[in-house]
Structure formats: C-alpha cells, structure tokens
Symmetry: C2
C-alpha cells in the first residue's frame, strides 16, 4: 500500500473570483497522477502544488461546462513543453473529441505525446480505467447537461503475514510473497497450513468519490456508500436552495445530507458560488448535518494514505 | 483629451511560471477597453486590475499560439455572466473563426452578446479599427506563424483656445467649441480672425505600439517611429541570441536597438522566457542600448495620458 492523495487545484464555480480558481484536482495513487476536471489556470495550480506533469496520464472531465475544461488546452500544451511522452487519455463526454480535437491538432501539433479520447456515458456507472493500483468508475449525476462524477477505488492489497505464525511454522522468506497473495503453506512434512491461519485480511481499499456538478440526488448513494472521502459540490447556502434546484446545483446542507446518508468518512465541499466572500457560512450549515466536513481550498491536500 | 493607459495582465512566455502569466494586456482609451492577446488566466488578471468587463468591446489577437489566446474562452464566458451586452469583436488571423466558433457556439450558447470575428492579414499594415478616440493599425511582424503587432493611435484632439485672444476679441462662449475645431471667428463687425491666431495646435496624439511575438526586424521601424511607448517582446538575453533567432524571438538588447532606432519615448519589455528567475539581467542588457526601458510585470499600469 502506498500513497493515495488528492490535490485541490481549484474549487470555485463558473464565475471566477480572486479567492478561487475554477474546478480542477489531481488524484495521486502510488505516484500515478489522474486529473479530475481542468478549469482555466489548472496548470498554474498544478505547478504551485509541485506535481510532476510527466506522471499525468489520464484526465477525467465531469461535464462540458467551461469552468470544468477550459484549462485543458494550456495544460496539454505545457505538458508537451515539459517533456511528457507516450499518451494522455481524456475521458469525457463524446462531444469533447469533436470540439477539442481541431483545437489540439492546431495548437499542439508539435506535441511529443498522443492524445486519445475515451467517450464516457453519464447514464450508468462504468469502470472506465483500471490498473494494478486503482479502478476509476463513473457516477451518474444530475446536472443541466450530461455529467458524471468519479469514484477512485484502490486495488485490494496483499494479505498481512502474521509474524507469530511465520515463526511458529518457521516459514522461509521465499514462500512469504505467495502467502501474502492468499496461498496456503505446505510444510516440509507435506502438511497444508491454510492461508487464513497465516495471514490477516488486507487493509480495506481506500475510496475517493468526486461529485460535481450536481443537484441533490439520493440515487448516487449506492455508488458512494462508505467512501473514505467524498468531494461534493456545495455551490450555495440554505438561503439559495431554490436557485440551487433551478440551476441543478446543491446547497452545502444537501451535500452534508448525502454524506450522512451514504455514511462516508469525510466530506469536502467545494464549487463555491462567487457570492460567498466567506464560505464558513456554508461550512456551518453542512456541519449541522455532518460534522466531519471541510471546506476545499486551492493547494489543499487530502491524504487518504501516505 | 482623456485617459490612455495600458494594464499588463500577463507578460510571460509559452512555458508558464509562478512569476508570470501568459500574454494579455488591456488598452484603455477614454474608458473604452481594448484587449491585446488573451493568454490563459487573463480574466483573473483582468479582475485583479479592477477593469470593467462591460467596457470591453474588442479583442486583438497577435497570432495563434496558445499562450496568446487560450484565455479567450474563459474571458468571453465570464463576460456573459457579467452582463456584457451588444457585440464583442475578435480581430485575429482567419483561422481563428474556424477554430474558435464551434467552441464558442457550444460553451457560450447562452451568451447575451454577439461575437464577431474580423479577419486580419499580417502581411501589411492596415487600420482595423477606428472611432472618434482611437485608430488601431496592424504592424507586420516576423514570427514562426503569421503574426502582427498593433499600433494604438489617439485621434487628434481639439486645438487649444488662447485665453488672451478670447479676452482680446471678447469671444462668446457659444462660439468657442467651433473655434477649438479649427473654425475662424467673425467679429460682430464682420472681420475674420484666423483660427491660427486664436488657438494653439492640439496636443500631439499619444501612440502605443505592441510588438510580440517577433524576431528582430528593422522593417517595423516605420510603423513604430516616435511612439510614446513601445511594448516589445524580449524573450531572451544575450547568451541565447542564437536560440532567439531560431525560435523567431528577440533578445532584450535587440528590442532596445529597435527602440533606439525608432526613437520611441519609452520601451517596456516582456514575454520573458521561463528560464530567467530574475529578469533584471534582461533589463540591464536593454538599458545599455536604450536607457528608458522598463520590465513589464503583471498588474503594471502604463499611463500615456491620465
């Protein structure tokens, strides 16, 4: 098990302020970087967070509103100038390739890496990326245009060897790797020692869910149930609940209700409307419902596993 | 005569740093705003400079490299959210409309103003905008792709009334506006007093020239001769002159040579390569050739007329 962290690059809403940048964040799983949304100026925040562009291979775009994707061209151009090679995959709604490809062909024609689009459907939850360390699934959300969130789920790790049993059976080092992966041990005398006696279960996989932009919908609960950290949009406060519904956004209290109903470990709220000069009013409303709530901010690092 | 100022929103080169934003600036002529180039994050710098988006009607793009135009989508989206109405004209190479129109149609479809493209040719100098206060002309530059600079020239103002002559001929107030505009005065006795006796010449129109990106070329001298302020790119220092030539950029010293040869009033250098942590090395090299040189920086205001 190793690193699983999230860097918040931007957590403002569509109308920019001097306090927040538009939405972007980076999930680091065992030093592979995955970007979620790429609002304007994401590349600057990326540098400020001292992240390594050459480790970024996948960009997940929740929906095609400008504040979630206008930073893509600058990001990809700079990745080219920074010596990124190989391939970068943009996971986004099918319209993205039609819109972005002509721009990328024109502006990034000297790019040293390939850009591939993976069209994602916002109607059902699908595993859209898997490697040895992590699986990324979509979460269908309810917004004005097709939108999905993303669930990052760590791969299950090895079982933990019981030191006392290793000693008791005098198990040679060369056998231990297989036992960690669930195999039984056969003594020199031919006796089978079941794996369950020799090991303890693996550490439960850490899970991170990103839900933005979306109106309140308890249909997403099955997808986010019990995650370690839920990042959820909280564009408005209680006083603007009607506006939230009208614009298909959430209030901070609604985000907290979801966090409670889904029994998540921690709630981080973001996508703050420019109308709030001090988002502590949103935090207070959320914490009335779900105590373990935090306000997102630029350059915030959320650590699920060090 | 009234305000003529330039706000520098970004003066870095293609590879972003935490010290500079990519190229963008705003020319304010009598409270009408004109943007030159629109690199990523221009809208944030625009807000930071406390400029009023509703006064911005024209955006001039020097060339279609990303660091000079990737901020356009965010800028235009936010102008829509800020209640801009009427029309915004984007003056740019002909490719711009083909590339940007599908993006704008998709992302700014609810925009309350129209966006019009004016295709500009970088091969010759043309007046591309004129109103009562200012004329904007293109300046052909030499870069890797078609590129032009821009010359902002104030309209000639009224002649100045000579107070002593107004008293001497006892000229009524209602006649003075016409005299300012060059008319003679006819006394009640029918005697014609020539305008040249009654007035002094208008204040010379202020002129601002923007030249970026470009390699050194003395062919631009006729276009910029005697301007009050020249903003010129100075991507590199002396040690990188070969690289400057190869990438069709300028050294600070070359920018200063142009400023001297064209007898400009003041030189402001910008478009600094990310390799320079302290641009004072560029400033020193330029000042050896042209003393009245200044380094651009974000939020700098250049005042030609208050």
């Amino acid at each position: 098990m190793a690193r699983f962290e999230i860097d918040i690059l931007g957590c403002g809403a569509a109308k920019p302020t001097l306090r927040h940048l538009p939405t972007a964040q980076v999930v680091n799983v065992r030093d592979k970087l995955f970007m979620i949304d790429c609002g304007e100026s994401a590349q600057i925040s990326f540098c400020r967070s001292r992240l390594n562009m050459t480790r970024l291979g996948h960009i997940f775009i929740s929906h095609l509103h400008g504040d979630h994707c206008f930073g893509l061209f600058g990001m990809l151009s700079t990745m080219g100038l920074s010596g990124h090679t190989g391939e970068v995959v943009i996971h986004a709604h099918a319209d993205a390739e039609r819109l972005f490809r002509p721009m990328l062909d024109y502006f990034c024609r000297e790019s040293p890496f390939d850009i591939r689009f993976n069209s994602i459907s916002p109607n059902s939850s699908e595993a859209i990326y898997t490697d040895r360390s992590v699986t990324v699934r979509t979460i269908p959300l309810k917004h004005r245009i097709p939108t999905c969130g993303f669930l990052f789920e760590e791969a299950e790790g090895d079982r933990h060897l019981r030191g006392d049993m290793m000693d008791f059976y005098n198990i040679p080092t060369y056998c231990r790797s297989a036992i960690k992966q669930g195999e039984n041990y056969i003594t020199p005398e031919g006796k089978v020692i079941p794996n369950t006696i020799l090991t303890l279960p693996p550490t439960p996989p850490a899970r991170y869910a990103y839900c933005s932009d979306t109106m309140y919908s308890n249909r997403i609960i099955p997808y986010i149930e019990g995650v370690d950290v839920l990042y959820h949009e909280a564009t408005y406060g209680d006083e603007a609940e009607a506006l939230a519904r009208q614009t298909h956004h959430c209030t901070a209290r609604q985000a907290a209700q979801l966090a409670r109903e889904a029994s998540v470990g921690q709630l981080v709220i973001g996508h703050f409307s420019s109308r709030y000069r001090d988002e502590n009013v949103l935090l207070a409303q959320a914490q009335e419902v779900f105590a373990n709530t935090t306000l997102a901010h630029e350059c915030m690092k959320i650590v699920l596993r060090k």
